[in-house]
Amino acid sequence: MRRKHTLSDFNCVELKNVKFWNGEKFEARDSVYAGFANRKFAFCNKEDLADLTVKVVDCNGALVIPALFGLGLDFMEPLRDDVYTFNDGLDAMHRGGFFGGLYESAANPIDDCEKLSAANDRLVKDSIYSALAIKFLGAFSKDFGSDHLSEMLELANGLDEDDDSFEGVAGFGDGNAAIPHSRFLRLAMEYGKMTGKRFFFQPMDKTLRKSGCVHEGAYSDMLGMKGIPRIAETIAAYTVLETARFLQVPVHFKQVTCGETLDLVRNARKNGMDVTCDVNLYHLLLDDSCLTELSSAYHILPPIRSAADCEALWKGIEGGTVNAISMNHTPVREQDTEVNFEDSVPGALSLEVALSAIWNKLVARVGEARAIELLSTAPAKLAGVDVPAYEPQVGGVANFVVLDPNKAHVVTKSEFAGHVSNSPLLGKELSASIVGSYINGIWTEN
């Protein structure tokens, strides 16, 4: 039975022995307090919580990191609510330390305000969780991939006569579908330009992809698997950029997988275009040598590319070309993964394991401040979230995740919310562990 949280559900916490992110660096603190004060969940003084029950957590020197923002969330509903529900997705966000995310449903494209309103009701208004900062990506075509424009003006404005607070979409994108043919692409961007919203694309040329399911390279060659060449991405990206340049529309590339696309982004920016891009967590963690395991757990689209591509993405992060790291959290039911690679349904869970998997690598490459930016503030900004989620002073907003960067752990099924566990990291050892998260006043201990 779904119910709204009451104040008694919310927690006040005292985190002992932590390293606290003060906006510039981590500083050791004997205790950090968070709770409900001044009508918001905020960092507090001990005395602010004097009359309240306070949960005390000894963190053994773990890091208090600003909560994360997830680009690319799809919680599967309404197709399989016996397997995964919106609430499972929100549970995953709490487990992984996410204060918000950009939602886009592959199964149920948000192509009119009725669908936007329904998704907003389920994920934000009626959720058993306190409202997370969920933003929505609207489709620019009806049902994804059709030649019919969606009602972009209404989607952008969030037209809802019954609800004044109802927001419009953060931008437009047709899920992870390949880019449309050039004529419709132009029409969609031409019409959508009126909204001033950004267009989100996963650059993929469908004719070059065809039935490919893995990166086209040495491993696909020797495994006899149909590959997706890099040019399937770069040609699509180029087409989008040329159209965007012609129409002066801001665009975002989701899940860039190779250095050549980043080159296109850099060149477009040099020419004054408003272009942003993100890189998927797993494209930074894995390369296509994993294909030799022949496990459907590695079936992710766009595909996991070569070690050289992976390194090019890291260089793109170091050099600032990549704006954010995306999650692309996609539950897949077990029976769709318990098959051979080519017949399996692509997708991977990421919210619960993302921070533990990438934090140490990311910090080693770009430092702590940039790591936090890539996982938290930058993706939130791309989704149009303009209110702070973390203010490191007493009275400031307190949404954070506590991570022990030195506590390795092996990923088990129980780490994931819902009745799914489709992650390439399942069974793998991660170098860090989440102690817990504090999101909108709820302490979730792992």
Partner: protein, 317 residues
């Protein structure tokens, strides 16, 4: 249980030289048995083998079935046409049902790469790959190696040219891994739309210096001791990869003109079925250099050896 280092036969990539040697040596013994008036041995008596074929097959399935019967195993044939797979049963459910019938060995053919490994991970049975997509067809590779050893004495130092549709050929991949492990050099030749797209292939350390590429068929066969012509895998092509079979035959077919460029004692091989007049001219397929029917006979012997050794390698195992 296995008399080999491997427990299952998924492919020839990663199979040791010692294991391949053991299989080929046993296959030679079984080949002799196949020449006897009584061709049956009791090696797998009491064991049950299921031939799980999700793709059409005549010669491979027949060859396996014959090998199983020569070893006195009980055999069950399972094809998608007669199975619940067509009714929507998942691969795992199919396997679990079959396994509950107490099957000892599963011989599987499937369009998907990695299905044999997947089945082995979900079953206690010994799994033998009879072809998984365009990945591997290890028993075909082994029978090709047996045929070359039989005709040329050894694989060590021999040059093998594989001509044709390499991109879609699981036979080619198994031959590349198996033959290079045994010391042969492999030259690959085919139209650019039918060969692997990435020369990174040569970066596999195991293949370094053992595999080369050639676009001119006459150059590819010039110093070859064995030439393997591959069938055009029309069923795996989802694009117009060739302008015409006529042009293919003229530039990549094994014709009398190409044969004239070969060594005098070259052997001509083909995994079958042959598209006569396309990848191989009829006169050559039936000619003095052809060892194609020996390959078929060796197929039974190799499959007997594989099943026998994976089951433990003991008489009455």
């Amino acid at each position: 249980m296995s008399a080999l280092q491997i427990k299952h036969l998924f492919g020839l990539q990663g199979v040791s030289k010692q294991d391949i040697r053991t299989i080929l040596d046993h296959a030679k013994q079984f080949r002799e048995i196949l020449e006897r008036p009584v061709k049956k041995v009791p090696s797998l008596r009491g064991m049950t083998v299921v031939n799980l074929f999700f793709e059409n097959s005549t010669r491979t399935r027949t060859s396996f079935e014959l090998a199983e019967k020569r070893l006195s195993a009980d055999t069950v044939n399972f094809t998608t046409a007669s199975s619940s797979v067509k009714k929507g049963e998942t691969l795992v459910d199919t396997l679990r049902n079959i396994e509950s019938m107490k099957i000892d060995i599963v011989v599987v053919r499937h369009k998907g790469t990695g299905v044999p490994k997947f089945l082995a991970e979900h079953s206690n049975a010994i799994v033998v790959n009879a072809g998984d997509g365009a990945h591997e067809h290890p028993t075909q590779g082994l029978l090709d190696m047996l045929t070359i050893e039989e005709k040329l004495g050894t694989l060590e130092g021999k040059k093998v040219a594989i001509i044709g549709d390499i991109r879609h050929s699981r036979v080619a991949r198994s031959n590349i891994w198996g033959m290079t492990t045994m010391g042969a050099h492999v030259t690959l030749c085919g139209p650019s739309t039918l060969v692997p797209r990435n020369t990174e292939l040569l970066q596999y350390p195991e293949l370094a210096g053992s595999v080369s590429w050639e676009t001119d068929v006459k150059k590819a066969v010039a110093d070859a001791d064995a030439v393997i012509a591959l069938r055009l895998q029309n069923e795996r092509m989802d694009d117009a990869l060739l302008p015409s079979t006529r042009e293919y035959r003229n530039f990549f077919g094994i014709t009398e003109e190409v044969l004239a460029c070969c060594k005098d004692k070259v052997i001509i091989m083909h995994p079958g079925p042959i598209n006569r007049g396309v990848e191989l001219d009829s006169d050559i397929a039936d000619g003095e250099h052809s060892v194609i029917l020996d390959q078929v006979t060796n197929g039974v012997a190799v499959r007997m050896a594989v099943l026998f050794l994976l089951a433990g390698g003991r008489e009455n195992a």
